[in-house]
């Protein structure tokens, strides 16, 4: 079984190589088959590996495969080797399975695009890099995947490169994540300096003995890792790239910017949980960042008009939940939320893609409407996704995962009422904007005629994802209801169990409050948007300033523009021709000037020369006489 691991990333890589080298000359059908097929094969292998893993847990809790030794210098030894344990298994399942569905969807979605091959090449490369990220045995290989997904994200956001704003968005995404990546890299240096290894099992094993809990070094390392995770996972204050990243095609948003890549930060923190557990301050920071992010992004989602931007802000917000869960030590809850979120958010993006395509690339939700009757399949699948997003009790996967986080945010040892209140407010906001989105897009009257119905191949992935959006939650029930905790049992082979407080009130009470907040959000959305889509609410003058503020994502872009971009561009502009160069040119100018002075004396008058010689002799002899 160990030998099978390499094939999981190898097939997407093979697809990438074929498509990038020969893609232009292949027929479109074949491109689609290669592009989607390789990922499907990877998904099948993953399932085989997963079944094997579940049947008999391998020795040491992980399958591992050494491919080749990457580089060995001194005491630094980095291999290209893969490792699949319980945590990785969840991730590779999501990556390959959801990835395969999205690839199938895209094979139809992108059919009319000129650069069909380039699209699939990038997507396959992305899948490969993402798989490497989560399967890596050491942090350097993980960093390879980490940067690789960044590259693919860049390529795919800027896929329609002829529009300048797309390229800007791609650059922005790459740069902001790059800032996080650099912090991560510095974290690796520090980690290596301290522990002398970058092997993940080695680090996890040595760290508890080496670091005292809460020592400044471990805090520093974890904060650096956290910054890396924040960049990739679009957490405050590095979140501004994600809404702009929606410039890419919808399947890209679904795969990269909802289901997989943006959760890399979650993976990193979960993977390095031993280190984080040793640093309580960082854990608190993780929780606070998650809490702030979920609230800030949720508020922004309330007022967006672009359907994909709504979903993007909601993604940021949901990842905020995951960070919150990680921060309070609810490891399995965070991973579970990632699991369900991957299904329903991918579903929402894909469905949104269908809607946008059907309405002639219309992104504004207020130009949509009344699609309930005309596109029933899309409506129902979207409804399943939105229900999961707003965590409707018992009938959606989102409920089970989000409820767990809400519960732990109060009851875990690191949790407190403040975090719980924020999470609760976030739940309310989530329900509100989900309802708004549903009502505005699918109810009311049609404002834009439908241009085409989705192809069958696009509908099937939607239905599959919708099924999982409803059913994925049933493998992990709250403790007080049904005693079925398949997911956390699985994940806790790797991750520690959540430490709870003593003397808690009943869990039912919290579930009731959470459910109430969700329904309150839905009801409020219904009141505001049903029938007359928010006319009153939109045009109230006192609120328009707030609305503008939220719409622009809390003015973070403008702030960064003012703080970093403008000064940077200013500095580079004024020094374009290199100050130092001017110094050397100054020397050259001075010599030229001297030359022009001296050349006056070089006038060809022989007698003047002789007088000069004579004066020199006189001078010397006078000196001789006087001294």
């Amino acid at each position: 079984m160990d030998q099978l691991l390499a094939y999981i990333p190898a097939f997407p890589l093979l697809g990438f190589l074929i498509l990038s080298l020969f893609g232009r000359n292949l027929p479109k059908q074949l491109i689609g088959v290669i592009g989607a097929g390789t990922v499907c094969i990877a998904a099948l292998i993953t399932i085989v590996v997963g079944i094997a893993f579940l049947q008999t847990t391998p020795e040491g809790g992980a399958f591992s495969q050494l491919l080749w030794s990457w580089f060995r210098v001194g005491n630094l030894s980095i291999d290209i080797s893969l490792r699949v344990d319980a945590l990785t298994l969840v991730f590779i399942f999501i990556i390959t399975f959801v990835g395969a569905l999205i690839h199938i969807y895209s094979a139809f979605f992108m059919w009319h695009d000129r650069d069909y091959a380039r699209f699939f090449a990038s997507m396959n490369l992305f899948v490969c890099a993402m798989l490497l990220l989560v399967m890596a045995d050491n942090l350097v290989l993980m960093y390879l995947g980490w940067e690789g997904v960044g590259l693919c994200s860049y390529l795919l956001i800027g896929f329609w490169y002829e529009v300048p704003s797309n390229c800007r968005a791609a650059n922005k995404a790459f740069l902001i994540t790059r800032i996080g990546d650099t912090a991560l890299l510095i974290g690796l240096f520090l980690l290596f300096q301290e522990l002398g290894t970058l092997n993940i099992p080695g680090i996890l094993q040595r760290a508890p003995d080496y670091f005292a809990s809460g020592s400044s070094n471990i805090e520093l390392i974890t904060i650096l890792l956290l910054v890396g995770g924040m960049g990739k996972s679009a957490q405050m204050p590095l979140q501004t790239w994600l809404p702009d990243a929606m410039a890419g095609p919808s399947p890209v948003s679904a795969l990269i910017h909802a289901a997989t890549m943006v959760t890399a930060g979650v993976y990193l923190i979960a993977r390095m949980h031993v280190l984080f557990q040793l640093s309580p301050v960082t854990m608190a920071i993780v929780a606070i960042i998650g809490a702030i992010t979920l609230l800030v992004a949720g508020c922004s989602a309330l007022v967006q008009t672009d359907i994909k931007r709504i979903l993007a802000y909601s993604t940021i917000s949901q990842i905020g939940y995951m960070f919150l869960a990680l921060g309070i030590g609810a490891w399995s809850a965070a991973i579970f939320h990632f699991f369900t979120h991957a299904f329903f958010k991918a579903l929402l993006f894909l469905a949104a893609g269908v809607v946008i395509e059907a309405l002639h690339h219309e992104h504004n939700i207020f130009m949509m409407g009344g699609l309930r009757k005309r596109m029933p399949v899309v409506f129902f699948t979207f409804l399943a996704g939105a229900a999961a997003l707003s965590a409707l009790p018992l009938v959606s996967a989102g409920f089970f995962s989000k409820d767990a986080i809400l519960w732990y945010s109060w009851s875990a040892a690191n949790g407190n009422s403040f975090l719980w209140l924020i999470a609760l407010a976030g739940a309310f906001i989530t329900a509100l904007y989900s309802t708004r989105l549903m009502l505005v897009v699918f109810w009311g009257e049609m404002k834009t005629p439908i241009h085409e119905q989705p192809a069958q191949g696009m509908v099937i992935p939607l239905i599959v994802l919708a099924f999982f959006s409803v059913a994925a939650g049933f493998i992990e029930w709250p403790h007080n209801m049904v005693h079925l905790t398949l997911f956390s049992d699985h994940v806790q082979k790797v991750l520690p169990e959540t430490v709870m407080k003593q003397g808690l009130p009943s869990e039912y009470l919290f579930q009731a409050i959470a459910a109430f907040m969700t329904f309150a959000g839905v009801y409020m959305g219904y009141m505001m948007y049903y029938g007359k889509p928010g006319v009153r609410w939109q045009q109230s003058p006192g609120l328009s300033a707030t609305r503008e503020f939220l719409f622009s994502g809390w003015k973070f872009d403008q702030l960064y523009q003012f703080l970093f971009v403008k000064p940077f561009v200013f500095i580079t502009r004024i020094n374009k021709s290199d100050v130092i160069d001017r110094m050397y040119n100054g020397i050259a100018q001075a010599s030229l000037r001297l030359n022009s002075w001296f050349s006056i004396s070089q006038n060809g008058s022989l007698r003047l020369y002789i007088v000069g010689v004579l004066a020199g002799i006189l001078f010397i002899i006078t000196l001789q006489l006087l001294l």
Binding site: S599, Q602, N603, G604, S605, L606, R607, I610, V611, L614
Partner: protein
């Protein structure tokens, strides 16, 4: 005493070079200066009873001969090209 004579001759030559404008006269004056230098050498040689002074004079002589032949050839050319021997008019180096 001999050196004094040599010095006087030398300075006279120098005056000639400085004051005359005709290239031929300048060459003549240079010859005088070279001759004066030779005189000083011979005097020194005779003072120390060594042959080196006379050897040096021989070299100066040879050099003077070479110099005057080249110099006069140049004078000829200058005259052919510029129709003048006035050094003040021969400032071609000036830009």
């Amino acid at each position: 005493m001999v050196l004094l004579v040599a010095t006087v001759l030398f300075t006279l030559g120098l005056i000639g070079v400085l004051t005359r404008k005709n290239v031929v006269f300048m060459l003549i004056s240079v010859e005088i200066m070279l001759n004066a230098a030779g005189l000083a050498f011979v005097a020194a040689g005779s003072r120390w009873e060594q042959p080196d002074g006379q050897v040096m004079f021989l070299f100066i002589l040879a050099m003077a001969a070479a110099e005057v032949s080249v110099g006069l050839a140049l004078v000829l050319q200058i005259y052919h090209q510029h129709k003048t021997l006035d050094v003040e008019n021969l400032k071609e180096l000036k830009d």
